[in-house]
Structure formats: C-alpha cells, structure tokens
Point group: C2
Amino acid sequence: MTKEEVIKEYRLREILEAARRVMARYGMQGTTVDRVAEEAKVAKGTIYLYFDTKDELVNTAVIEGLREMTAEVLASDDPSMPPLDRIRKLILAHFRMLASNQDFLKTLIIGNSLDIELESQHGREFMRVYAAHVDFVASVLQDAIDHGAIRRIDPQFAAFMLGEMLTGSLRRRLLKLASSPLESDAEAVVELFLKGIATIPCD
Amino acid sequence: MTKEEVIKEYRLREILEAARRVMARYGMQGTTVDRVAEEAKVAKGTIYLYFDTKDELVNTAVIEGLREMTAEVLASDDPSMPPLDRIRKLILAHFRMLASNQDFLKTLIIGNSLDIELESQHGREFMRVYAAHVDFVASVLQDAIDHGAIRRIDPQFAAFMLGEMLTGSLRRRLLKLASSPLESDAEAVVELFLKGIATIPCD
DNA sequence: CAGTCAAATGAACGTACAGTCAGTTTAGCC
DNA sequence: GGCTAAACTGACTGTACGTTCATTTGACTG
C-alpha cells in the first residue's frame, strides 16, 4: 500500500467515524452532509471526493459499523468450549458489544432508523453481513444440537430470535422501560433463551 | 355529536388512514404532505386545517395505528381460560394482528422508521400506549405465575421479550430471511418462549 | 335569490440541504 | 525557489418540500 493510499484510507475512516458520531447524536433525520463535514473537520466538498452521494456515505458508515460489531463478537468465540458454556459466553459477548455501541445502535434500534432499500446494492451488502452473523450463531447452535446439549430446534430460527432478544434488551433500556444497567439483563436472556418460561427446571 | 363534528371526525380518519397507506408504500422518508393529500383526495392546505405540522400528522397516524392494533389483541383475550392456553392464544392473536398490518408495520420494523423524540409530547403518548400493552401482557404472565403454570420470572421482562420475538418473526419475513408464511412461526415462538432451547422437554 | 361564513383549495413562499465547481492550498519533484 | 498535479475548500445553485394565505366553493338562512 502506497503512502497516498494510507492517507486516503485514514481520511475515509475519519469521515465514516464522524458520520457514525453524527448519527448517534442527531439521529438519521438530523444527519446532514454539512454536519458530518464539520464533525470530520473537512470541507463539505471533500466528502464528495470519497462518496458519490449522501446515501452512499450513510449506508457505508452503517454497514462498516455492523461489520466491526459482528467481527468483535465472532472473535470472542471459542469453539472448543462445552456447547452450553459456549452459548452463554456468546450471549455475554453480544451484551458487551451492544453496551459499547449504544449511542450508534440507538439510531438503528429506536426512532429514526436506516433507509436502506433492500433491493439495492447497499441493501444486499447490509443483508450479507447481517445474515452471515446469524449463520454464525446458528452454526454454534447446530453444534450444540449435534452434541445433544440442546433440543432439536431450527438453528436459523433460534439464532434470529436470540438476536431479537439481545437488541430487545438494549431497546428496553433506551425506551426507559428498564433502568438497571444493560449487563444485568444478560443472565435473564440466557435463562429465558435456554429454559423458556416453563415451570419445570430443565438442567 | 353534531353533524359537523361527524364530518370533521370522518375527514380526520380519512387523512390518518391515507397517511398510513403512504407510509406503507413510500416509507417514512418518502412520506410527504403532498402525497398524503393526494392519497386522501384533499388539497394540501386542508391537511393543515386538521394538523399543525407534518410531524403531528405522522406521529398521530402512527400512535393511532398502534392504539388500534393493541386494542385488537386486548379484545381477543379471555381471562377465564387456563393460563398456558391463554398465553398461547395471546401469541396467536398477536400473529394475526401482525399479519394483517404487515404493510404499515414494515415502516416501523425495518428500514426508514419513526422519528419521535422520546421526550416530546408525542413521544410520551407513544410510550404510554406501548407500555400499556406490555403491562397487559405482563399481567397475563403474572396471572400464570400466580397459578403456578409458569416459573417465577420477571413478567415485565418476559412480556417485553415476547413482544420482541413477535415483531422479530415479522422482521425475519420482511428481511427475506424466512419464506414460509408468518403464521407458521407462531407455534415455534410459543415453543421457544415456553420451553427455551433446553434439551429436556418440560410439560 | 342574495347574503353569510366556515371549509377547502392550490399557487406562492421560504428554507434546509444535497450536490457542484472555480478557486486555493499542499506536496512532491527538479 | 519555481512548476505541476492532486487534494481540498466553501460559496453557490437547484430543488424538494413544509407551511401560509388570498381566493373560491358550497351549504345554510331568511
């Protein structure tokens, strides 16, 4: 990589991070190119040297953010652990990730959210990253099924629902329907996901 | 109610329904006052006889929609049923409601969503309706706990998570991560919510 | 039918903001 | 230092859209 490419890469990151900060602060509606430029300490025109349209800027920022977050969770996985412990650890890793990206996720999870058209280039890219993560979680569940650690459930379905519970936990905080720190939900989600609400304890 | 009031009420409904149709078709971003006026077959100015701002129009349309949907579910409840059957029926009622409001909910659940500021008048109103519904579901769960039909779990937490699984089911369809009809998820959610993924069946 | 008035209309206005581009700065090179 | 090209700037442009208001419509009254 040449020196220029390094600088270009650096600028790109700066702008994308600025965009995410602006989204977190002003919401999707309030995210203007002017604000991103100000936040990134570059002129408006500079942004258009790196992105063709505002849409491309915003969507790229979101997709990159998603990519980084899923990578973080993936990195914490340890396939050699006993299946149930591995699932528990996976859930905790998700919670850590959610907690440290609250501000950014707020824009995606409540209120003014994304405007990606599913059938567009960006929409497909977004779904690729998202689906890959669900697939990964599903594979962990499949592994647990193969080991007889959990019952035979559709792993894709369960993985998706787990994801909904996780983002749901964050949403509940952000909507002020719960006030204790996010982390304290982790065990409750583990319990609910593993055992449901049924009476008889199933260990 | 006088004749004029009836007409006013009718116009109001027309405009709000038009607004929801436009939201469903064009998304939040693409919902303009011009489009709503065209859809409602009134002049742009007429809208401003009923609403002070576009924000009020949109937020009122959303809140009314939410109110109608939650009322629908509430109406289907039968407190005299055995607790577990009651919960199952409640979940199925939610699925029916979700299925018949897919187009409108799409705008709230994926992509271009709501822009209600939580600390505003509309935000509080929205949260009131939403929280009331969660409270209702929680009360059904509390009832089941009192009857010893399910284990002692925080009913508010469980009610919220159930809601997340339900909207999650719809989201999964809308994101094309599942293709079978929405209704077929109903049983899977009942199962997962009641029993979790644990190995030992708990009936 | 003329007169009254609230309801409705849609052309016009103002503004916010995405996108452009002529001019300026910076960096590399001889 | 002078030359060149690329990077950067920010004032400017065009437009989409929320909001206003002078005018028109039509229902009702006497």
